[in-house]
């Protein structure tokens, strides 16, 4: 019989008590793990938000947000057929609006195709274009007879790389296909900026400018600089996606969950400490026996630490199971209580944007809607609801493993104190009465 076998045996000596201790540990460990998962998930989300959409500024001519002020998109004719049948869209079939003011539309009942001239390989909200086939347009500041087509649009018109089509009788070649996620966004094509300006007969004009700031913290300064350079009477500088408050309240969720993780971890350590101190006191005489027959202090100490670890291992197994069921709920609960204000803000802003978009005759769709970073922007909650769903999904086994490692670390510390107490017990304890 080894020290380990004895420790396992001792852990099960009093089955009712063991069950109670394991249950207590499971609650503490489960809570710790759930908090860690929530923390990691929210942390990752905050980083993602900061990195992707939180740093974009949109500059529009003064007087209208979300669309070229007082200036409707130019309507052009094309050989292309729209990828989206407007029959199913009811009243949404409206004149199209291109961000650079270049639009080709067919006079049939289908959603207009949006053509946009771009000065870089980015979409209308400043996100990098995902080219799925072919190449980009190379120099976006030079005229070019090449175009990028949305995947669904290309499919609808049986176009592949190298195929041609016309806009206002001018022939363009398909250089590449892009996928912007939502179907609406793919019912679009991109030209280089000078080409679009030429085709739309609006040389030198820009309908909007997307400025990506290098960090969340520089956003205010960049906005102020842009406003003073362009003049507030001539240009509206808006934060592409005002997720700052969402990010900061998510940041506090992150902090709260971390504190809760540490507290639950500490509780698990304390449970171990108390139960082991109790066990050492209870087995004083037995420890005396072990010493009387020549057990070294370290063997006895090790036996108690191992016994504590057996209890923690069982607590962790049950706790991890509890956490895997509970962490989703806990994360959502944490986020929904902490982001109520954010959600409200988002809703308000969403409505404002929807209004702006409607006024400008925007066909909806993610590409035209900076609020959602590729989300269906019809959802007024936008980013916040996306957070709720994606946060719970990101509990990785690595995080759970790290959490359990931390639990074991704390358990060893908790068990070390009573284990060291055993060294002070004298072998003469064997002669004391029960």
């Amino acid at each position: 019989m080894s020290v380990l076998a004895r420790s396992v045996g001792n852990a099960f000596r009093n089955k009712v008590r063991t069950a109670a201790v394991v249950a207590l540990l499971a609650v503490a460990i489960g809570l710790a793990l759930a908090m860690l998962v929530a923390n990691q998930a929210v942390g990752a989300k905050v980083q993602e938000l900061n990195a992707s959409v939180g740093t974009v500024l949109t500059v529009n001519p003064a007087g209208g947000q979300g669309g070229p002020a007082g200036q409707n998109a130019t309507t052009l004719t094309t050989s292309l057929t729209a990828a989206i049948d407007a029959g199913t869209l009811g009243g949404r079939n409206q004149p199209a609006n291109g961000t650079t003011g270049t639009t080709t539309a067919q006079p049939v009942r289908s959603l207009p195709i949006t053509a946009t001239g771009i000065g870089g390989e980015v979409d209308t909200i400043g996100k990098s274009l995902t080219i799925t086939e072919g190449t980009g347009l190379g120099d976006y500041t030079a005229e070019s007879a090449n175009a990028l087509l949305g995947t669904t649009l290309a499919e609808k018109n049986n176009l592949t790389i190298g195929s041609t089509f016309t806009i206002n009788e001018q022939t363009f070649t398909v250089a590449g296909l892009f996928d912007s996620g939502p179907t609406f966004g793919n019912n679009a094509l991109y030209l280089t900026l000078p080409t679009a300006q030429t085709v739309a007969e609006l040389p030198g004009e820009l309908s909007s400018m997307i400025v990506t700031v290098d960090g969340m913290e520089n956003l205010e300064a960049a906005k102020a600089a842009l406003e003073s350079a362009l003049g507030t009477d001539k240009a509206d500088v808006t934060q592409g996606q005002n997720l700052e408050s969402a990010v900061s309240s998510l940041g506090s969720v992150k902090n709260i969950s971390f504190i809760a993780f540490v507290a639950a971890l500490g509780t698990a350590g304390l449970i171990i400490l108390l139960i082991m101190v109790m066990l050492v006191r209870e087995r004083r005489r037995e420890i005396g026996v072990l010493k009387a027959i020549g057990a070294p202090n370290r063997t006895i100490g090790l036996q108690f630490v191992l016994e504590a670890l057996v209890l923690v291992a069982m607590g962790s197994a049950v706790g991890a199971a509890v956490a895997s069921f509970a962490s989703g709920g806990i994360a959502s609960a944490l986020i929904s209580t902490n982001t109520t204000t954010t959600a409200a803000t988002t809703t308000g802003r969403g409505a404002a944007m929807a209004g702006a978009a409607g006024g400008a005759g925007m066909p909806g769709g993610g590409a035209g809607f900076p609020g959602g970073a590729g989300l269906p922007s019809g959802n007024p909650l936008g980013g916040a609801s996306q957070l709720l769903t994606s946060v719970t999904a990101s509990a990785s086994p690595g995080v759970i493993a790290a959490g359990i490692a931390a639990v074991f670390g704390v358990a060893i510390i908790g068990a070390l104190v009573p284990a060291l107490l055993t060294a002070r017990i004298r072998p003469i304890e064997v002669l004391r009465g029960e």
Partner: protein, 229 residues
């Protein structure tokens, strides 16, 4: 050889001091079978615990084969208990949730004896104290007092100690089993030159020992041969 020099152990109980071991001195040659008799509460167990390094004397010293226990560090005392001493406790002090076999193997585990050897030796010892094979694997708290006593004796012999200190080793045994245990201890002295000191109320046992001591109110006196008859 064990030399006991002016050994004193005092306890403070309340406002008065008791001296269960009061200036005790004697010398036992290696291979001696000796006994201590005395009334209940006369200090026999206390004296034995001092010899077995379970307790430290208030004053005086125990010298085992020329090595003094006084001033020996705790680690060395543990090693002394593990290697040189076999202690049979009056209350047995077995580990209740382990089997008889595991209890006997425990001191060998602490001494670093290999697993297969531990098992073999424990089986032999339990056979020698006449414990049925079926009871060898039973948990201690499911054995009778006499059976537990025999397991305690087997455990004391596990590491082939030079000195066996046995506190009432036959107290719970019938005459026949008791005689057998005495026979076992005698054979150890004969075959392994083991020194054995037994505390007993059993006059028959005492009479079979080479030397007999009597403890009275902490004072040790040696009885001449046959004085206990």
């Amino acid at each position: 050889m064990i030399e006991v020099k002016n050994l004193v152990r005092t306890f403070n109980s309340g406002d008065r001091t008791i001296k269960p071991v009061n200036d005790v001195s004697f010398v036992l040659e290696q291979g001696t079978l000796a006994s201590i008799v005395g009334k209940s509460g006369s200090g026999k167990s206390t004296l034995l615990s001092l010899l077995g390094a379970l307790d430290k004397p208030t004053s005086g010293d125990v010298v085992v084969n020329g090595v003094s226990l006084a001033g020996m560090p705790d680690g060395k005392l543990t090693e002394y208990r593990r290697r040189d001493i076999g202690f049979v406790f009056q209350q047995f002090n077995l580990i209740p949730n382990l089997s008889a076999m595991d209890n006997v193997m425990l001191p060998m585990e602490f001494a670093g004896v290999r697993r297969t050897e531990r098992r073999q030796r424990a089986t032999d010892l339990l056979e020698q104290v006449q414990l049925d094979p079926e009871k060898q694997v039973r948990r201690i708290n499911r054995l009778s007092g006499g059976e537990q006593q025999r397991v305690a004796i087997a455990r004391a012999l596990a590491n082939e100690p030079k000195l066996i200190l046995a506190d009432e080793p036959t107290g719970n045994l019938d005459e026949q089993t008791g005689d057998h245990i005495i026979e076992l201890l005698s054979s150890l002295r004969r075959d392994h030159n083991t020194t054995i000191l037994v505390v007993t109320h059993d006059k028959a046992l005492a009479n079979k020992t080479d030397r007999r001591f009597r403890l009275q109110q902490g004072r040790l006196t040696e009885e001449p041969a046959r004085a206990l008859v």
